[in-house]
């Protein structure tokens, strides 16, 4: 039996499930705590469009917020210390998104490391090292979008025998049980993909295992996700880079949206479709769909992956004309075995 205290009340239970989520990570930058910076939560409280919004980071939150506030009328500058945005995505996919955001009027500064922050005449002064050279930018608002930190630091976990990683993540096994029997961790606190649908699937796994005596695990669980820029990026499975890193023998299918009939007809040909296929089996290993309704098209491919449908069946299959999904014929025709 385990015991916890909440609001002075003592609760006892056989099993404890920790699902306390994560919060925006705030990097240790000189002067940052002395300015009114925004996070992905607090920026939603703004009632007026920022004049000039600088965003620290170039991940999914930075992309979505940056484009959104640009379209609301803000001048937007993205600051990324690495040499390109979206480091987890394939280079060609990230380059396509970079181009789309620049076409929207967003300034993207890669290779720019924020070193000092201060107030200046009602604005925020950012001092950067950009390509080894000092540079300053003045903005009206600063959004910190530099990752997230699990909410585990004030739970008193040290009293349970649980050990977190250096980043506050609670390690779990494939059934989501921690190193202490009867204590489970779900959602963002256990590290890995931080998405609402993954947290919900964690719940499905533990509830079915405990209540229905099933043996579900997170092993080989598909991790689809969608970055809600416009066009959106739907992602499932391995990227080309990840597959090559694993030494896999792969085929790569790629189709620019300028070749997609539905895109041409609806006047939006930004983006591309890309899929990675196992050369020996023809099974689809992953896909990146940067397109209007990219998340929905990705889900069609996810269904094929779940059903073990090889790429050539999709290449030769019949889809309604003119839909975005019809272009999956053309996507897989681009493969030259």
């Amino acid at each position: 039996m385990k015991t916890i205290g909440v609001n002075g009340e003592t609760l006892r239970a056989d099993k404890i499930f920790i699902n306390t989520g994560a919060r925006p990570a705030i990097p240790d930058i000189e002067g940052l705590d002395a300015v009114p910076y925004l996070t992905s939560t607090t920026i939603l409280d703004l009632t007026e469009t920022p004049q000039h919004l600088c965003i620290l980071g170039a991940g999914y939150v930075a992309m979505e917020m940056g484009q959104m506030y640009r379209r609301f009328g803000a001048e937007v500058t993205l600051l990324e210390k690495n040499t390109r945005i979206l480091g987890k995505e394939d280079e060609d996919v990230a380059a396509a998104i970079h181009k789309i955001l620049e076409e929207d009027g967003i300034t993207i500064c890669c290779g720019s490391e924020l070193q000092k922050v201060s107030r200046q005449n009602g604005n925020i002064l950012l001092e950067l090292a950009s390509g080894g050279q000092p540079r300053t930018i003045t903005c009206s608002h600063l959004l910190v979008a530099a990752g997230r930190t699990p909410n585990t630091d004030d739970l008193g976990l040290e009293k349970t025998g649980l050990r977190t990683t250096g980043h506050g993540i609670i390690p779990v096994g494939e059934n989501l049980e921690t190193g202490v029997e009867g204590i489970f961790a779900l959602g963002d606190v256990k590290g890995g993909p931080a998405f609402t649908h993954i947290s919900y699937n964690d719940y499905v796994i533990v509830s079915k295992n405990i209540l229905d005596k099933q043996r579900l695990t997170i092993h080989d669980r598909p991790v689809p996700y969608c970055m809600f820029t416009d066009p959106e990026l739907g992602r499932i499975g391995l990227t080309e880079h990840e597959a090559r890193e694993k030494g896999m023998d792969i085929l790569v299918a790629k189709l620019p949206m300028t070749k997609v009939a539905r895109g041409i007809e609806t006047g939006d040909t930004r983006g591309l479709m890309k899929a990675v296929v196992d050369k020996a089996t023809g099974q689809i290993l992953g896909a990146s769909i940067l397109s209007v309704a990219g998340g929905e098209i990705m889900s069609v491919i996810q269904m094929a992956m779940m059903g073990k449908v090889p790429y050539d069946q999709i290449r030769d299959g019949v889809f309604a004309h003119p839909t975005f999904s019809e272009s999956l014929n053309n996507l897989f025709m681009s493969i030259e075995p």
Partner: protein
């Protein structure tokens, strides 16, 4: 809010489709109000869903301390 941003983008391109439009001024307060309404509906639905189960909810802003 992303839906609102997409609408602003479409409105800005409306001329390309032969549709007159002027999205030069964004009413962010109205955008936020719509977002709050959508989020509120979702939270209400989730709360009702949980209240229909035998689950007890204890709210706290203090940490849960193992004893």
């Amino acid at each position: 809010m992303i839906g609102a941003a997409r609408t602003a983008y479409i409105a800005g391109r409306a001329q390309n489709f032969g549709i007159p439009s002027d999205p030069s001024r964004i009413d962010l307060a109205k955008v936020i109000a719509r977002k709050d309404e959508v989020v509120g509906q979702s939270l209400e639905s989730l709360t009702k869903s949980i209240q229909s189960t035998p689950i007890s909810i204890i709210s706290t802003e203090k940490p849960y301390l193992p004893i």
